[in-house]
């Protein structure tokens, strides 16, 4: 097991290196200039822009810049943002908690919706409940988050005026009112992300359960005279969840990606909105930092999915 882990981690290194090369080249080839705003301001002489370009090493050839970035990165130095001149790791760490709260609660919501709905739908296939659940699930994952997000804002903030649509990470106050404020502002972004995830997950849970429910051991359990409830919860769901668990792990990076748009719409100060503003400002070190974090997440969660799968299903062995 530990040997397998070690091997996987070693394989991950060249992939990360490859990812960083691709990212860096694309960013270097993309047009744009972090000091664009200086260029159109008549009060700032061009020499200042030149001096800054030289100071931040922007005029060096791409490969020089890449190796400088790589050697710094290997020593744990993520560089600093051209826009705010703050260290990139500091910027990212400052944003991570908010992203985790929003994404964590939306994943929780997705599971809370998907598990019961999927299982019930599978136990009564083609019933009215199943039909409705299916239809809603299809609608849910075919509507993009930027659309549902705007729709919710229009309905709940503008027409009904119930919920705020600007997310503030540091709401003043304490105790219950503080918690209520937090919940109120998180409802919409969490709903948007959670329901989108929940919709597709419902389909997975349903099909996984359907696969298991037809197996012989379930029939055996039933013929033993066990109550239906016990059969479903103890015998069916346990086994049907194995593929679902790995799926959740595999989807995590995608959730982070989907959160970028949602964060922008609701002004959630997470790493997604950091990425967007960095892209708009051509702030290369920050873009590199954030996308690199995403890359690490993808590789990490892939590994977690594989390990989890083996742990849950003893039929699988690592070699």
């Amino acid at each position: 097991m530990s040997q397998y882990l070690l091997r996987r981690l070693l394989i991950a290194l060249p992939s990360l290196l490859g990812i960083s090369v691709v990212l860096f080249t694309i960013l270097a080839l993309a047009p744009g200039d972090p000091f664009e705003e200086l260029a159109t301001n008549p009060a700032i002489p061009p020499e200042v822009r030149e001096a800054l370009r030289v100071k931040f090493g922007l005029d060096d050839p791409v490969w020089t810049r890449y190796f400088r970035w790589l050697t710094a990165m290997l020593q744990g130095d993520w560089g600093f943002s051209f826009a705010s001149r703050v260290d990139v790791d500091e910027l990212i760490l400052g944003r991570v908690p908010t992203t985790l709260i929003v994404i964590g609660s939306s994943q929780l919501l997705a599971l809370l919706v998907a598990l019961p709905v999927g299982v019930i739908a599978a136990t009564r296939p083609y019933s009215i409940f199943d039909q409705i659940a299916n239809t809603l699930a299809f609608i849910g994952f075919s509507l993009p988050t930027f659309f549902t997000g705007l729709l919710l804002i229009l309905v709940f903030s503008i027409y009904l005026d119930w919920l705020p649509f600007v997310y503030r990470a540091d709401v003043p106050g304490s105790g219950w009112p503080w918690l209520w404020e937090h919940i109120k502002q998180a409802i919409m972004p969490v709903l948007v992300l959670g329901l989108f995830q929940g919709a597709s997950m419902t389909r997975y849970v349903r099909s996984a359960t359907l696969d298991v429910i037809r197996l012989d051991y379930v029939t055996t359990a039933r013929s033993k005279g066990l109550r239906e409830r016990v059969v479903i919860v103890k015998h069916v769901v346990r086994n049907s969840l194995i593929p679902v668990v790995t799926l959740v792990a595999l989807q995590m990076p995608a959730v982070f990606g989907g959160a970028i748009v949602t964060e922008q719409i609701f002004r959630v100060p997470g790493i997604g909105s950091l990425l967007i503003s960095a892209i708009l400002a051509n702030d290369t070190p920050v873009i590199m930092g954030v996308t690199f974090v995403f890359a690490i997440l993808v590789i990490l969660f892939n590994l977690i999915a594989d390990v989890l799968y083996g742990w849950l299903d003893p039929r699988i062995s690592y070699r």
């Binding site: 047009p31 910027l91 649509f165």
Partner: protein, 597 residues
């Protein structure tokens, strides 16, 4: 100036359309002295108190609750000397103050200064070569240390050091600053300088404390912990900062103005987009104020109906204009196109330029595209009013354009496109990708077609168009195109810096990496001479006349075709009282902001 004109002017002062000061300047131009002008005003029924001054009503400090403002691009750093864009300047302006700021009419208002320097009491030298700035007594930094002349000297040294790489360097590098006494300094210029209010004033004049930044001058400037934790003199003290997201401040109990500030806390939230920011202020009232509403006027008007807020339009002089290339963009000379050594094959004919100017339907552009956010104009230099030319006017007339072209020998071919000496009248018209601009392009193209000019439209992504990337052929500074359109900004109420973009020494070339500011590459001795004269002209009236002459040269020779000038647009709650200015940051007078009950 005849009797009727004078009466009109007085009426404008009466209903607030014109300031007293502007009136005095205007009549001074015809030889009346200032006391005389004031008397005329008094006779006309405008009392001395009628100055359009902002009335600050709160009678005690604090008690206003939280002021919540929305910046759809969040502040990324809080050191005014590194403030790349206005978002960073605004974030810094909550905590830092300059010696003086600019009000809406382009007049100086003291902030940290005890008074505005003037010739009468000798603080402004008669020869225009030095100015004395006096600090107000008893002003303290937020950490309790007093503000002294040493701080002023330090800011000068800090900003002018090339190693610091400050964006304010231009205001400080060519002046010398010496200490007069503990509270005053003398700023000395090499040449007589009519525009002396640059260093220590407005957006680039915010002062940082010497005792916290002294160790971080030059190369080490990035390491200063206070780059992110400002300690200034402003009405609000620093609480918390998350780059790109949130700036928070709280009332400064020792602020140097009585009864100010009104709000207990301030929160500047960043991120999102302009339209939803407008919604949060105008429609739902979740926020009190939002900056830079780059939203179509149509949408603003719709939101304003029955909403909780309004759009505030502040006059400025940013100008959306069409530039006509004076050089040939299609021939390469010494490795560059649009080389200053060439002449444009079509646009060098004045008739073509005149026709083009007649074909831009500015009225329609204003009515159908920009509304209140872009005002049709004939002038390149539109504000402050004392610099506005009255000699120009614009006209949209396809018929006349046809006549002008016909008379100059441009004959229509079978395809409806005019030609002369085998050269077809075909132009490429580029601009950045931005919906109003594409609509504007279409309007011009349509009219030009009727006059036999074929225009090919080209739009470039803004991040490419406005970049200084030397390798990219599509930047506006390279101008590898016949005509192009964008907005150029005027950041100071004095037009000297603004008008240098037509001087011959500013021509953008390969040699200066296309960093010269004269993009049209037009050259005129007459213009150069007028500009140089204005640089040293100390008489404000004569100086204004020179700038008006420069504007007329540019407009009458169709070097550019001004389209609309763009006032600044902000959104504010109906109750919020906030004096804004087109010549300074939105927060220039944050100390005076309050909410009406």
């Amino acid at each position: 100036m005849d009797h009727r004109e004078l009466k009109n002017l007085i009426a404008r002062v009466k209903d607030g359309a014109m300031s007293r000061r502007a009136f005095v300047r205007r009549v001074a131009a015809v030889g009346l002295t200032a006391p005389m002008a004031t008397q005329i005003l008094a006779l006309g029924g405008v009392s001395a108190q009628a100055q359009t001054k902002f009335a600050y009503k709160p009678t005690k400090r604090g008690g206003g609750g939280a002021l919540k403002v929305l910046w759809w691009q969040g502040a990324t750093l809080l050191n005014p000397h590194f403030a790349v864009g206005t978002k960073d300047q605004e974030g810094s302006r909550i905590f830092y103050e300059p010696m003086a700021g600019w009000d809406a009419e382009g007049n100086l208002v003291p902030m940290l200064a005890a008074e505005i320097p003037n010739v009468e009491n000798g603080t402004l030298a008669k020869d225009g070569k030095s100015v004395v700035w006096k600090l107000k007594k008893g002003v303290k930094w937020h950490d309790g240390k007093p503000v002294t002349a040493d701080d002023l000297i330090f800011n000068w040294e800090y900003a002018r050091d090339p190693a610091t790489a400050s964006v304010t360097i231009a205001s400080y590098k060519d002046v010398k600053v010496e200490k007069v006494d503990d509270l005053s300094v003398r700023v000395m210029f090499e040449k007589p300088t009519p525009f002396w209010a640059d260093a220590f004033v407005g957006t680039r004049g915010m002062l940082i404390p010497k005792h916290l930044f002294a160790e971080y001058k030059g190369d080490k400037s990035r390491d200063a912990p206070n780059n992110l934790k400002p300690v200034g003199t402003g009405p609000y003290k620093f609480v918390d900062f998350k780059p790109g997201d949130m700036v928070r401040g709280e009332l400064n109990p020792d602020y140097h103005m009585p009864n100010r500030p009104y709000f207990d806390t301030i929160e500047m939230k960043g991120g999102g987009d302009a339209i939803s920011a407008a919604r949060a202020v105008i429609q739902t009232g979740e926020y009190d104020y939002a900056w830079n509403m780059q939203v179509e006027d149509e949408i603003l008007l719709r939101l304003e109906k029955g909403g909780k807020g309004k759009a505030i339009i502040t006059p400025g002089a940013n100008i959306e204009h069409i530039q006509l290339n004076s050089t040939d963009p299609w021939t390469e000379v010494d490795g560059e196109r649009s080389s200053a050594k060439t002449k444009h094959p079509l646009l060098s004919d004045p008739a073509v330029r005149q026709a083009l100017a007649l074909l831009v339907d500015r009225k329609s552009v204003q009515d159908h595209i920009y509304g209140r956010t872009g005002i049709a104009t004939a002038n390149f230099l539109n504000n402050p009013p004392r610099f506005t030319s009255k000699n120009t006017k614009f006209e949209f007339n396809v018929e006349k354009a046809n006549q002008v072209l016909e008379a100059a020998g441009w004959k229509k071919g079978s395809d409806g496109v005019r030609a002369k000496d085998g050269k077809k009248l075909k132009l490429v018209y580029q601009t950045s990708i931005n919906q109003p601009r594409q609509k504007n392009q279409a309007i011009v193209k349509q009219a030009a077609q009727k006059a036999g000019i074929e225009i090919e439209l080209k739009s470039v992504t803004a991040s490419v168009f406005f970049s200084s990337d030397v390798a990219n052929p599509d930047t506006y500074t390279k101008f590898y195109c016949d005509i192009q359109m964008y907005t150029t900004t005027m950041t100071q109420p004095d037009p000297e810096l603004f008008m240098n973009q037509f001087t011959s020494w500013e021509v953008a070339t390969k040699e200066n990496k296309w960093q010269g500011r004269n993009i049209t590459r037009w050259k005129s001795d007459e213009y150069d001479k007028a500009f140089q004269a204005a640089q040293g002209e100390l008489d404000p009236v004569k100086r204004a006349a020179l700038f008006i002459k420069m504007n007329d040269l540019v407009v009458n020779n169709q070097v550019v075709i001004p389209v609309v000038y763009r006032p600044r647009v902000a959104a504010a709650s109906l109750k919020l009282q906030a004096p804004l200015s087109g010549w300074d940051n939105d927060f220039w007078s944050l100390r005076d902001w309050y909410r009406e009950a």
